[in-house]
Symmetry: C2
DNA sequence: CAGTGGTCTAGACCACAGG
DNA sequence: CTGTGGTCTAGACCACTGG
């Protein structure tokens, strides 16, 4: 047997990937167990485990106790994407970031919002509307609702220079969140703010963030036409 | 000191998360090193490392050799999403999946495609156009280009019952891929196929997959209006 | 029941980068 | 130069689950 030694878990992982892509180990096939592979690869089982685990995390392997490790039949691609602060996102593109507050008001939200945010039907929420720009061209429109019961400090924030996006990230404790991607048609209002034509298809992100029992904030981001989001595979 | 013992890396991780969310450890702050924390938590350094690493992977901690571990100032949310085969995606929603081939032809692609797929300008590619349905309603439109030099077996596949989507996953070796999300306005043609109105905003996925030097396939998926994609945070 | 992956431990060496 | 995280190792116990 042509035995090569593998130094670290990354090189073990690479060899595992090679065998999968080369169809050495075919889809659906059971591969040897950790202990045996560790011997073959000349490393500790811990190292073998780390390598196999990392491959399994990408969806290419399916591991189950007692059943062993199989090459996935329908590899489910796991894409990861970084959702940073808008400012960093723009600056990472090498563009100049700027920000404009459109409106800031304390109002009783429409039913659809108060339901989602579980606020009392007559409770006022802070509504912030703002535009993010890249190289002075509209980049994304932010429409945000804030629960002042949970984030009382927001009451004294004007959000004129620091976006709610950025301020919240620095000042709010949160435990969980939900995020959703979709496509939305521009309305006459949003179109004029984003300097695009009415009915343009806009890439949309909806986020809902909460802390323990309480919803903190709900935000919708409408990106200017042409925006693309590229996850790492 | 009120010392609690932590059994496994998950509970260590949870306590670390608690301290971050509770602002025990504030954004930007340097936290103790692994060795010290391991003592405090009453576990091995290896275990502490595993816990801290898993938190760092979510973007909440920033770790650097010698510099130590800091709570991230601008937590970059890492969202992960599973991109499965269309059929499984629909079935997971508890809907009935079906599939219709619209067209299949061997043609010289327009320039924009041949450029992206690095095929020779006069080389024919397999063009497959199909509709995925959920509960007999249009779900997504698939527009795919296949390089027969790389996937010769596709020449004999009719793609009438098995979608190219699914067939490729089972039969193609690939090493890398790119994926992109965006929003596209429906054209008269796509609108009629998806049974929606012209200019509807469609959630769009573009994928390019290759094996070593050769591009295997390029696909665009246009989802019916209202489609949402929800990553795990 | 028994085989498999999941994890913990103590100790060690090393690569990297801050000071 | 030195502190920090990154990793490897051997050995051990355990949880889960397939047969």
């Amino acid at each position: 047997m042509n035995r090569v030694l593998f130094r670290d878990w990354q090189s073990v992982r690479d060899e595992v990937l090679r065998r999968i892509h080369a169809r050495d180990w075919k889809p659906g096939e059971l591969i040897p167990n950790e202990a045996d592979l560790a011997i073959e690869f000349g490393c500790a089982r811990t190292t073998m485990n780390r390598a196999l685990r990392s491959v399994a995390e990408t969806g290419l392997l399916d591991r189950r106790r007692k059943a062993g490790t199989r090459v996935a039949v329908q590899p489910v691609a796991k894409a990861t994407l970084d959702i940073a602060v808008m400012r960093l996102e723009v600056e990472d593109r090498g563009q100049n970031y700027s920000y404009q507050l459109i409106s800031r008001s304390l109002v009783v939200p429409p039913d659809e919002i108060s339901q989602v945010m579980k606020s009392h039907t007559d409770e006022k929420l802070l509504h912030v509307h703002a535009l993010h720009l890249a190289d002075d061209k509209p980049y994304a429109l932010e429409d945000r609702w804030l629960n002042l019961r949970v984030v009382p400090d927001a009451r004294t924030q004007s959000f004129q220079t620091v976006s709610a996006n950025e301020w919240l990230l620095r000042n709010t404790p949160y435990t969980h969140g939900e995020i959703e991607f979709s496509a939305t048609a521009a309305t006459p209002t949003t179109a004029s703010l984003l300097a695009c034509s009415d009915q343009s298809a806009l890439f949309t992100i909806d986020r809902l963030t909460w802390d323990k029992q309480n919803d903190v904030t709900k935000v919708q981001l409408l990106f200017a036409p042409g925006h693309k989001l590229q996850p790492r595979l």
